[in-house]
């Protein structure tokens, strides 16, 4: 069943409805073995639903899903030995201590690395003796994280694993994921924290309304968006408003500020060169900006749907 070089997760045309609501509507997702894959999308776009299908907790309505060479629904138990999961909303048994939960989940997976467990407890500064009832949200999250990170799983499914962690713990988490990557493990990371995604992920998929809207490396995705340019030239700037891909132009003789579609950047720079460039700064789009564009699109689509 183990396929060494194939993708860790391969989803095509995945559909899932709850009653009348369509949670997933033809979602595609491909996660390569050994990569950290960011899974992004606005609230309610279907990230958790996808992960639950990967865990065999929900049954898909249509589409194909392969994970670690198996079928997540049929081969659930066998696949679960090879993966670890951190839910977005961690609920624990109020009367059981954090240390006990970590051991329990580890043993039920098929064993956990004791030394690593103790090291993680130290790193994340978690008191394992406290009953779960008395943990804060962040500490509950840590319990699930430590249980997953102390495992020897090939694949980690992390659903907003750092929501509720403080910046210090966030940094610890990033260190841990770098180590996972170095060990050659695969991570699917759903997150709303873009700095985290930017720091950790090799590739990302952005979904919206249950459908994949973008997928690729961060630089590929940047290519689809605009770069901000600020330029000063020897000769007066003329005619650049006629260039393809230039937006939001502000010119004043020798100075100009504008955004350019990253795909057209090359053409625009060629057109500027003959004018005698004195200074030029180019700012690549942040993930934040890419996102706002996609989230904005969604808001627009929803407004459109409401009007119809």
């Amino acid at each position: 069943m183990s396929v060494q070089n194939g993708p860790a997760i391969e989803i095509a045309g995945l559909t899932k409805t709850f009653g009348r609501a369509k949670a997933l509507d033809g979602l595609d997702l491909s996660v390569r073995t050994g990569e950290v894959h960011g899974f992004l999308g606005p609230n309610g776009s279907g990230k958790t639903t996808t992960i639950r299908i990967l865990l065999g907790l929900l049954r898909s309505d249509a589409g194909t899903v392969r994970m670690l060479g198996g079928d997540p629904w049929r081969d659930a138990v066998a696949l679960h030995r090879r993966l670890a999961y951190v839910p977005g909303d961690v609920n624990l048994w109020p009367n059981i201590s954090g240390g006990e939960v970590i051991d329990l989940l580890g043993r039920m997976r098929g064993g956990l690395d004791r030394a690593r467990r103790d090291e993680l407890l130290e790193r994340f500064d978690l008191d394992p003796r406290k009953k779960a009832r008395t943990y804060s949200k962040g500490n509950r999250q840590k319990v699930a994280l430590i249980a997953a990170l102390a495992s020897d799983a090939e694949l980690l499914l992390l659903d907003e694993p750092t929501s509720g962690l403080d910046p210090l713990m966030e940094a610890e988490f990033q260190r841990c994921v770098h180590r996972l990557k170095a060990e050659g493990r695969t991570v699917l990371l759903s997150s709303h924290i873009l700095a985290e995604v930017e720091a950790l992920c090799d590739r990302v998929s952005i979904i919206r309304l249950g459908r994949t809207v973008e997928s690729g490396t961060l630089s590929q995705l940047r290519h689809l968006t605009r770069t901000s340019i600020s330029v000063e030239t020897a000769r007066p700037l003329a005619g650049i408003d006629a260039l393809a891909g230039v937006h939001d132009l502000v010119v004043d003789d020798h100075h100009a500020r504008f955004d350019v579609d990253t795909a057209e950047l090359d053409e625009v720079v060629r057109a500027l060169a003959p004018l005698g460039v004195r200074s030029l700064t180019s700012t690549p789009p942040t993930l934040e900006e890419m996102f706002l564009r996609h989230y904005g699109d969604e808001a627009a689509a929803e407004a459109e749907a409401a009007v119809r």
Partner: protein, 525 residues
């Protein structure tokens, strides 16, 4: 204390579904007892013979109240029912106060309310006012039920007031408990212990010289002797105690931090013991406390039933009407009494089976099952572990009930053989209990949202068939659906294995059907 009115309205709204049931329960107890007692002991001669029978029967006194109440029919009603109405009212008050104070604080809901412009004591004050109103309502309803069924008005007024006073004391006690303990469960545990102690202390007092009854809120209520002496002054005690407790609660509240208690919870283990390594280990860990509670409760109930067994012959001879409730009629009175009480105990155990099996559902809806089922644990293993605990637990609770009844009856009759006999009789109901439990499992698989309702309907149906089939004249075909109707009523019937095997197989089939549904459906909603 700003915002009290709004807070109170909000609380009343949240209680509109649960509170009516408590009120109804308390009212029904009085209504049924009053009608039944007046039917059974309507004449002075009947009452006199009752006094003779009960006069020296410590078991009956322990389960009811002081015999002075048996002077007239109104007093007889109070004798039989006031202790139990008190328990209902005490629990109602406990939950009313606990839910709106500590439970809300624990869940974080109170933080929202607190951040609005409210006085520090407003929530507790509103919860106490709410409990006060509920107890006034209980008092009025008890009065109405008693006076409405023809008991004297002045005594009924005191009966109602005494009931409300008990509720008030436990509301105030809960107000203190929720300051002391950091979580609602511990606070409820402490108050429940106090309710149990109140019952036991008054039992000991009523059997002895009466002194111990005076440290029990139930004892204070009973010792107003409604209808008999109609004395109001003992109610000064609960009023003073409740007032002192409220003052103490308010003072403690001012001294503690939000969401903290005065008693720090004990830390747990840093690593899991060897037992906590599988879904079965977890199910056992989650359920063992409840199992111990049920086993202890049913054991005590068995003891109560068993200790009356010896005097039942005399009692029935004096009260022929009682024999109508017993399956074997007046013949073989003791055996039919034992059979009937074993059946009653088994019906209660079927509620245990249902509660325990439904734990799988609450694990699922709370999201706690999700990380477990993301490990190498199969759905069959996860469900199975809860069912193993439910089945093993049901067997243990049945055995505990039989043990209690056998021990108490055996001691009274100096017959050690009663112990294995009654344990056997009780365990004979295991297949029936498992079948009712399996209804919950079937629901879990196919109609998860309706599983609880479905299972409780099955329990209620079995109880109605077993207890009221004759008095309600329920047709035979409708009775045959209950597995309890097919279980031989040992010791009046002989053991027959065939029906037990059939019921057991049906239970297994239903549970398997439930699993078939569970492995097909989405989890977690």
């Amino acid at each position: 204390m700003t915002g009290l009115g709004g807070l109170l309205r909000f609380m009343l709204r949240r209680e509109r579904l649960a509170l009516p049931w408590w009120l109804l329960g308390a009212t029904l107890l009085v209504l049924v007892q009053s009608t039944q007692s007046q039917g059974l002991y309507g004449t002075p001669e009947d009452l006199a013979s009752l006094r003779r029978t009960i006069g020296g029967n410590t078991a009956v006194i322990a389960m009811s109240g002081p015999t002075r109440l048996l002077e007239n029919i109104g007093g007889e009603v109070v004798f039989e029912i006031l202790a139990y109405v008190s328990i209902v009212v005490a629990m109602m008050s406990m939950f009313l106060v606990g839910r709106h104070t500590r439970a809300d604080e624990e869940s974080g809901r109170a933080e929202l309310v607190r951040s609005a412009r409210l006085g520090r004591h407003a929530t507790l004050a509103a919860a106490l006012v709410l409990a006060g109103l509920a107890n006034l309502a209980v008092g009025a309803l008890v009065f109405a039920a008693a006076a409405g069924t023809g008991l004297p008005v002045s005594g009924s007024l005191l009966f109602g007031a005494a009931t409300a006073a008990v509720g008030g004391v436990f509301a105030a006690l809960t107000a203190v408990a929720v300051q002391v303990f950091e979580n609602a469960r511990a606070a409820y545990g402490a108050v429940a212990l106090a309710i149990g102690a109140a019952f036991v202390l008054r039992a000991a007092g009523d059997i002895g010289n009466g002194a111990l009854s005076w440290v029990s809120p139930i004892g204070w209520a009973q010792r107003t002797f409604p209808y008999v002496d109609n004395r109001w002054w003992p109610l000064a005690v609960p009023v003073a105690v409740a007032a002192a407790l409220v003052v103490a609660a308010m003072a403690l509240l001012a001294r503690r931090d939000f969401a903290a208690g005065l008693v720090r919870p004990r830390p747990g283990r840093a690593t899991a013991s060897a037992a906590l390594g599988s879904s079965l280990g977890l199910a056992w860990r989650l359920q063992r406390g409840a199992l111990a509670g049920w086993a202890a409760g049913l054991f005590l109930l068995g003891v109560a039933y068993g200790s009356i067994g010896n005097s039942i012959e005399q009692y029935v001879a004096d009260n022929p009407a009682v024999a109508e409730y017993l399956p074997g009629g007046a013949a073989d009175v003791v055996d039919s009494y034992l059979a009937f009480t074993a059946l009653t105990l088994a019906l209660i155990v079927s509620a245990y089976g249902v509660v325990t099996a439904l734990r799988a559902r609450s694990e699922e809806t709370s999201g706690r099952a999700e990380p477990l089922l993301a490990t190498a644990t199969s759905r069959a293993g996860w469900l199975g572990s809860h069912l193993v605990v439910a089945a093993g637990g049901a067997a243990s609770v049945l055995a505990a009930a039989g043990l209690g009844e056998g021990l108490a009856y055996g001691l009274a009759t100096s017959d050690a053989g009663q112990v294995p006999r009654m344990v056997g009789v009780s365990l004979g109901y295991l297949p029936a209990v498992l079948l009712v439990t399996a209804v919950a499992v079937l629901g879990l698989g196919w109609l998860p949202r309706a599983a609880a309702a479905l299972a409780w309907v099955a329990v209620a149906y079995c109880a109605v068939i077993a207890l009221f089939a004759d008095s309600f004249d329920i047709p035979g075909w409708l009775r045959r659906g209950s597995p309890f109707a097919h279980t031989p009523e040992v010791p009046i019937d002989d053991w027959t294995v065939a029906p037990l095997v059939v019921i057991g197989l049906l239970a297994v089939a239903l549970a398997a059907g439930g699993y078939a549904g569970l492995r097909r459906r989405d989890l977690g909603y």
